[in-house]
Symmetry: C2
Subunit: 144 residues, 2 copies
């Protein structure tokens, strides 16, 4: 499917900010998060920008600027993050509309659409069951 790492990196960033704030700090910088995720600060800023639009984080500018959580990790689910960073559907239809004169060509899109909707609903339900606090707990539970 050509999977991407956007959900993973976004969860990483949120867990990092959450832990940093638990340690008493006010804001985290994109550079710190990028160092932990081993990527470029701009990639982090782009992702956090989408999370900000979704109301999950806030940013300050100027000296001593950076990112902070807009809500508790307990109230954020992976579904919130998924919806913030993954706009499109999971499965695509035909690029060119199939032959409407053919019985299969005519009925295939509504049929698959109905099936895909059910599957995506289930996926969203699963994502909504995991909070970012769960993620951070699992992160800290890793051995060594």
């Amino acid at each position: 499917m050509s999977a991407n790492s956007r959900l993973t990196i976004a969860a990483h960033a949120l867990a990092w900010i959450g832990l940093y704030q638990r340690q008493g700090h006010e804001v985290a910088t994109s550079e710190q998060i990028a160092a932990s995720a081993n990527t470029n600060p701009v990639v982090i800023r782009r992702l956090l920008g989408e999370l900000r639009r979704a109301g999950l984080v806030e940013s300050r500018r100027g000296v001593g600027a950076g990112w902070s959580l807009a809500r508790e990790l307990e109230s954020m689910t992976l579904l919130d993050v998924y919806e913030a960073v993954e706009p499109g559907p999971l499965f695509a239809m035909h690029r060119a509309t199939p032959d409407q004169g053919c019985v299969v060509g005519h009925g295939i899109q509504p049929a698959m659409q109905g099936i895909y909707e059910g599957i995506e609903r289930t996926l969203r339900h699963e994502l909504a069951r995991v909070t970012l606090a769960d993620v951070l707990r699992d992160v800290l539970a890793a051995p060594r």
Copy 2:
């Protein structure tokens, strides 16, 4: 996620072959299927080749050659098709391994892996609930 249409096209092809066989024909050609799906015959042959490797269809060569189902549509699920045409995982990890000296960088991959495994298990379960006979029934149930 940059979704693709492989599962959709594969289901289209299988439904088409299944209906064609119900109408008494022996084999279907990639050209016929491509016309219905409004794409190129080579695209269909490539996809059906993967389905053949998975044991879902058979192909004959020579004059009067073409494709036929290797099993009944009732015994084929969307999971069989999905696994035949979508090898990789749904969500990717970091491209570069995160900073192992950081607590979050160290624990994030096992944490997300565990979560993703549960989600993919659910996705597969949902896909396994839909047979290709269900798909064809839905196709034929489309209005007009």
